[in-house]
Symmetry: C2
Subunit: 203 residues, 2 copies
Amino acid sequence: MSAEPISRGPYAKSKGQRRRILDVAVDVFGRFGGRGGSLKDIADRVGMSQAGVLHHFGSKNDLLLAVLERRDDQGRVLTPDATLEEGVEAARELLEEGNRNPGLFQLHVTLSAEATDPAHPAHEFFVERYARVSEQFTAPLRAAARDGRLSDDADPEAIAHLVMAAMDGLQLHMLLNDDVDVLKSFDVLMDAVASKYIRPDEG
Amino acid sequence: MSAEPISRGPYAKSKGQRRRILDVAVDVFGRFGGRGGSLKDIADRVGMSQAGVLHHFGSKNDLLLAVLERRDDQGRVLTPDATLEEGVEAARELLEEGNRNPGLFQLHVTLSAEATDPAHPAHEFFVERYARVSEQFTAPLRAAARDGRLSDDADPEAIAHLVMAAMDGLQLHMLLNDDVDVLKSFDVLMDAVASKYIRPDEG
């Protein structure tokens, strides 16, 4: 017990430094991409040496992945038995979060585009991530199909991929076109999909 | 007239070199982005000096914009009085072209993501491009509204932005998730939007 105040001090300091590095890294990678953003810029802005930054994160690539993972950790996690309505609500919350944090979204979309190259250090991260998120989006649709709430011509996977794609595309276009209203176009999509493929919940 | 064979030779040679540089630039920028892709890589692969490449394109930025403009030139151009059906057909053709040329699409999506940064050399290009394409997508919907073919709650601009976003998002996700079927999800979107907002053409 008596050692705690001594060991807690440096630990809290180190945690604070990690957080500050991550905040700056989100901004630098968001603006310059994972390849263009340099460790030197990040270190300069945090007021550390590059070796100091690497002490906390091991490598530039590890720092990049830590930034991406932090973003995912902040998102709401759906349980496997989430209903359609819960799924739509969670997706809408993600978009509202993106509106509040365009830098973080810019980072995500820039890196996911760069990472389409199989040689990119974040390629595996994104392949794994999209498979997982795709499953999270498809599961409530499959459950709705089992409950007889989907029309016979509805393809849960194709609908899930459409919704994910529209969300990323809208957030990308919003950054290049002030006229894009992400939430309005998202609601148009939800209304259209519901009109064509989904029966209202009678439960 | 007698000078023609002499002047045509170097001109044709120069045109061929320009085309070869562009082909290689599509691949290099597509894989490494506009910031990560280097003039040196491009010059090495074409078998020229960097000065030789700059002789044809002036600067790396000019080369980047030439690549982007060539892509747009290859797309089908809709007349301002295109019908809804012609618009959908043109959009579908763009996606089929993207399926045939993933490298060119990868370039487009990587650069448009990077270019969300106002300091990026292609920022103005993309802002101007998205405003123009958005108008091309919205016009047939506005015309359909005037003809009484849209439901009263249909918002032509929000629908147009949704379709553009879904197209870019699907092509991005296709590169990271083999399960994504771009054309199938696009058809789901068109069917859903038609079901909710559009009356069939009776003309």
